[in-house]
């Protein structure tokens, strides 16, 4: 009668301690593992779009069509190159005109020049509503409604 309770205590204590050690090891392993990356939803194509019945059936392109496309691409690259050169030239004239004005201002008076080359703190951040396709309609009453945001938010 006196011996049995002792055995129970020892065995229990040992078993409990072994269990605790195992749990701690598991926790340590989980913590050591690198945090899972947040998936970028735009880069993953949902699998339902790779089914075969989704593929569009269009007639193949004719030879003239491919030729036209290639020539159009070439014309477009030339057009964009000219546009880029014109923009760069315009920026250069802008900078040259400003440099000349600052040079003349310096000749006039030093303190005005120093005031002119100071950084303008109120300029940035600069915000502007971009141009739309049609001008705003005066007296327009937009329809009522609520916008519910359903973007998924991940936590690491």
């Amino acid at each position: 009668m006196r011996v049995q309770p002792k055995k129970k205590k020892k065995v229990d204590i040992k078993r409990e301690q072994a269990q605790k050690d195992r749990m701690k090891k598991k926790i340590r392993k989980l913590e050591k593992a690198a945090p899972e990356m947040i998936p970028i939803e735009d880069f993953i194509t949902p699998s339902k779009y790779s089914e075969s019945n989704r593929v569009r059936s269009l007639p193949p392109l004719s030879f003239e069509e491919t030729e036209r496309r290639v020539l159009l691409m070439k014309k477009w690259s030339l057009y964009k190159q000219k546009q880029d050169e014109a923009e760069k030239k315009a920026i250069q004239t802008l900078v040259a005109a400003q440099q000349e004005a600052l040079k003349e201002l310096r000749l006039e008076s030093e303190e005005l020049y120093q005031a002119a080359i100071k950084r303008d703190e109120g300029l940035f951040p600069f915000e502007r509503d971009g141009p739309n396709y049609t001008p705003p309609l005066p007296g327009y009453d937009p329809p009522e409604g609520k916008c519910i945001d359903i973007t998924k938010v991940y936590t690491q």
């Binding site: 593929v55 004239t93 400003q98 300029l123 739309n132």
Partner: protein, 276 residues
């Protein structure tokens, strides 16, 4: 800075005899005594720009390219849910017609087809009327209104009296001692447009310069000519009903400037105006 004073003041005396030695006069003036007269009068002028409100029409190459990009995107894409629904319903309709109504649903059941939805959306779009891109001011060429040419930059021109001539100029004001040139430009804006206009000035530095000599009749040793420094600002407030415009004014685009400004002035102004 103190040492070269004597050296510069010396040649200054002799340089003033030769006309057109503006640079030497400038040097001498700066480094000599504070009471030295400045032969150049300073003006601060303001180029107030109203930014475009609508997009510019696409050019021919841009339109062709946009069409091509749309086609390529269509070819590379897959069917969307709506399109699949439409195709299935078309097939169902075909089968019903061929098999002569032997379905158990019965023709009385009202099913909303994808095609009906599309028609409904089309109708809703047609009901909405957007404002037109070409306004009344465009059609009647009212140059004093801000609603003209909504797709390009408009700038303010005022008629000012210089000497004894009335000229069309960018609004300018004479510089007074104790203020920076940018505040001169702001004062010019307040003079011509009133106090309630909001404009965002682009930086403290001038964008351009117009230098001219006075005609020989009024040219003195102290007053050879004037330098006009241009500053740029974007117009923020949308309507100018509160503005008290005292003189004649116009809002013009860059191409129309030629009809109002003199050639030398125009050349300098065109240098700092971006062609959209």
């Amino acid at each position: 800075m103190e040492a070269p004073i004597a050296g510069h003041c010396g040649p200054r005396g002799s340089a003033m005899a030769a006309p057109g030695q503006r640079a030497a006069a400038g040097w001498g003036r700066r480094l000599c005594t504070a009471a030295a007269p400045r032969p150049w009068r300073l003006f601060g002028a303001l180029c107030l720009l109203r930014l475009p409100r609508i997009t510019q029409p696409l050019r021919r190459e841009e339109e062709e390219m946009a069409a091509l990009m749309g086609q390529i995107e269509l070819e590379k894409s897959r069917y969307s849910d709506h399109e699949i629904r439409k195709l299935e319903e078309e097939e169902q309709l075909k089968r019903r017609k061929e098999s002569m109504y032997d379905d158990d649903e019965g023709p009385g059941k009202t099913v909303i087809m994808a095609q009906d939805l599309e028609d409904k959306w089309e109708q809703k779009l047609l009901q909405f009327k957007a404002a037109s891109r070409i306004t009344d001011a465009d059609k009647n060429n009212i140059r004093t209104s801000l609603n003209r040419k909504l797709d390009s930059n408009l700038m303010l021109l005022v008629k000012q009296k210089i000497g004894n001539q009335e000229l069309w100029l960018l609004p300018q004001a004479e510089w007074q001692a104790g203020e920076t040139l940018r505040s001169t430009a702001e004062r010019a804006m307040a003079i011509f447009l009133g106090d309630h206009i909001q404009a965002k000035f682009l930086g403290n530095a001038p964008y351009g310069l117009y230098k001219y000599k006075f005609p020989r009749s009024i040219r003195t040793e102290d007053n050879m000519g004037a330098k006009v420094f241009f500053f740029k600002a974007f117009l923020q407030s949308n309507d100018l009903s509160q503005a008290e415009l005292k003189e004649d004014y116009l809002w013009v685009t860059k191409d129309e400037l030629g009809g109002y400004l003199k050639s030398e002035y125009l050349k300098k102004v065109n240098q700092f105006l971006l062609d959209l």
